[in-house]
């Protein structure tokens, strides 16, 4: 533990940077995936393109992506924007199917009824479909959050100052404590994010606190996809 005390500033800095590198792709991934999921539900062929595209993106190995992106984006290889873009791609890939399923599972009679009393396409999306898809979207977001936080550490290999550094450095020095501290800190970020997402859900979706068995089973199915 003395290593942690001596290097507390380093660990804190790496943790902070790790959290920032995680939160941006999580948010961007969500913002991009939800409209894509909506589009996917417009027609069968759109759905297979969007969902298939998402699955394809997810098969790209992360390390080559970090290496290729600088050529595409015109960034330096050590630029952390590469990591953010790469992780956003993965977040979209993971989130898009959940988003499509979540929006497709919105009760048809609520959508139909809101149209027939005068909701426009836009107001219906924001006031009806999006909130009713909320619980499933949130479940998907929790998976994306955990996965993104884990993936950020790979960025250490191309020189990003995040908790992954403790893994590579600890491995090189054959120093287990440093690796364990890296794992612990990364777990802590994941836990804080997860709690934050759940609390956000409670604040934004008060109706959902009275958990009905139906919505619960939909949520479980959504998580089960992965």
């Amino acid at each position: 533990m003395s290593w942690l005390v001596d290097n507390f500033d380093l660990v804190a800095r790496l943790t902070g940077n790790h959290a920032i590198l995680s939160v941006i792709p999580i948010v961007l991934g969500f913002v991009i995936a939800v409209p894509l999921g909506w589009i996917a539900n417009r027609s069968h062929s759109l759905r297979s393109w969007v969902i298939g595209g998402g699955s394809f993106l997810y098969t790209i190995p992360s390390l080559p992506l970090f290496v290729i992106l600088p050529y595409i984006l015109g960034t330096r290889i050590t630029d952390e924007r590469n990591i953010i873009v790469a992780l956003t791609i993965y977040a979209v890939a993971m989130m898009v199917r959940t988003a499509a399923d979540a929006l497709a599972a919105v009760p048809a009679d609520a959508v139909e009824a809101s149209t027939s009393i005068g909701y426009s396409l836009w107001t219906r999306f924001w006031l009806v479909e999006f909130p009713l898809a909320g619980p499933v979207l949130l479940a998907g977001l929790r998976v994306v959050s955990a996965s993104t936080i884990a993936l950020v550490s790979v960025g250490a290999i191309i020189g990003s100052a995040n908790l992954g550094y403790l893994f590579t450095n600890g491995k090189q020095r054959d120093f287990l404590e440093e690796i364990l501290i890296g794992i612990g800190a990364s777990f802590l970020i994941a836990l804080v994010f997860d709690i934050a997402i759940v609390l956000l859900g409670r604040v934004l979706m008060p109706w959902n606190l009275r958990k009905s068995p139906a919505s619960k089973s939909i949520r479980q199915n959504a998580v089960g996809v992965y």
């Binding site: 609520a110 009824a113 809101s114 149209t115 005068g118 909701y119 426009s120 009713l132």
Partner: protein, 275 residues
């Protein structure tokens, strides 16, 4: 006044939901479309607020072709009550009722106040305002559906089998309530049902439909009962089985006069003449 002029709705597979349908629905009256499944009654109803667009022909509201109106604006001006209530499960009762006024930009506090008044109008306690729809009974939810439809004070009220999913006792209660309400608000109401007794209970004008939206008979309940147009109408209203031909039967043991149908099944008792 709502007017259908030679309205046809043909599906892509060639079948007709409605074929060359023409009818006038008078203002401030209740018109009931009644018929079996597939008679096109819901299709006709949904043409009024452009949830369905006719293949040919016109639907006019006060002389204006709805085809030329913006569907969203049109729907906000027409109250709509659905069988499945269509209440938004994530909004409280007061917010559900206030949906259309809020879409029209009415301030939240004013919309809520009006929603509370509407709860009174449809005979619900104001304490339900902050519940969610699934915390109410089916009958209560239907009343909320009616309150929501009335929220923007529309001239026209469309009701698509609104009482189809509630039990028979609540159903009768809701029909009575609707009649009372119509006495107060006097809307142009279009009501769809497959239950002829319900049609007779609430209609000023009954429209009996065959398959494909063909009109079998139009008239007041009394006119249809007195002169069924043909065998189809007779069967539909139950006249062929003697259900509508009632007789008086004196019970000597207790002095009550029973009313019985053609097969001797009791349908009611004879009350005092109100004169």
């Amino acid at each position: 006044m709502i007017e259908f002029q030679n309205v046809t709705k043909q599906f892509p597979d060639g079948t007709f939901a409605v074929k060359d349908f023409s009818l006038v629905l008078p203002s401030h009256k209740v018109t009931v479309f009644v018929g079996s499944s597939g008679a096109g009654k819901t299709t006709l109803l949904r043409m009024i607020n452009r949830m369905v667009n006719p293949t040919s022909g016109k639907v006019l509201i006060d002389g204006e072709d709805v085809a030329g109106l913006n569907p969203v604006a049109l729907r906000r001006k027409i109250g709509y009550v659905l069988q499945a209530t269509g209440l938004l499960p994530h909004r409280k009762i007061a917010d559900n009722i206030a949906s259309v006024p809020r879409l029209n930009g009415v301030p939240k506090s004013k919309a809520r106040e009006e929603a509370l008044i509407l709860l009174d109008t449809v005979g619900l306690d104001r304490s339900l305002a902050d519940r969610y729809p699934d915390q109410l009974s089916g009958g209560q939810q239907q009343r909320v559906g009616v309150a929501r439809a009335l929220a923007s004070d529309p001239n026209i009220l469309l009701m698509d089998e609104p009482f189809g999913a509630v039990d028979p006792i609540v159903r009768l209660e809701l029909q009575d309530e609707l009649n009372r309400l119509q006495g107060e608000i006097s809307k142009t109401m279009v009501f769809v049902t497959h239950n002829i007794d319900e049609a007779f209970a609430i209609a000023d004008q009954v429209v009996i439909l065959r398959a494909g939206g063909e009109i079998a008979q139009v008239g007041s309940p009394a006119e249809i009962l007195a002169n069924p147009a043909d065998d189809f109408v007779e069967t539909f209203i139950g006249a062929d089985k003697g259900k509508r031909t009632l007789h008086l039967q004196r019970r000597e043991e207790d002095g009550v006069t029973l009313i019985v149908d053609a097969e001797g099944r009791p349908a009611g008792i004879l009350g005092e003449d109100k004169g």
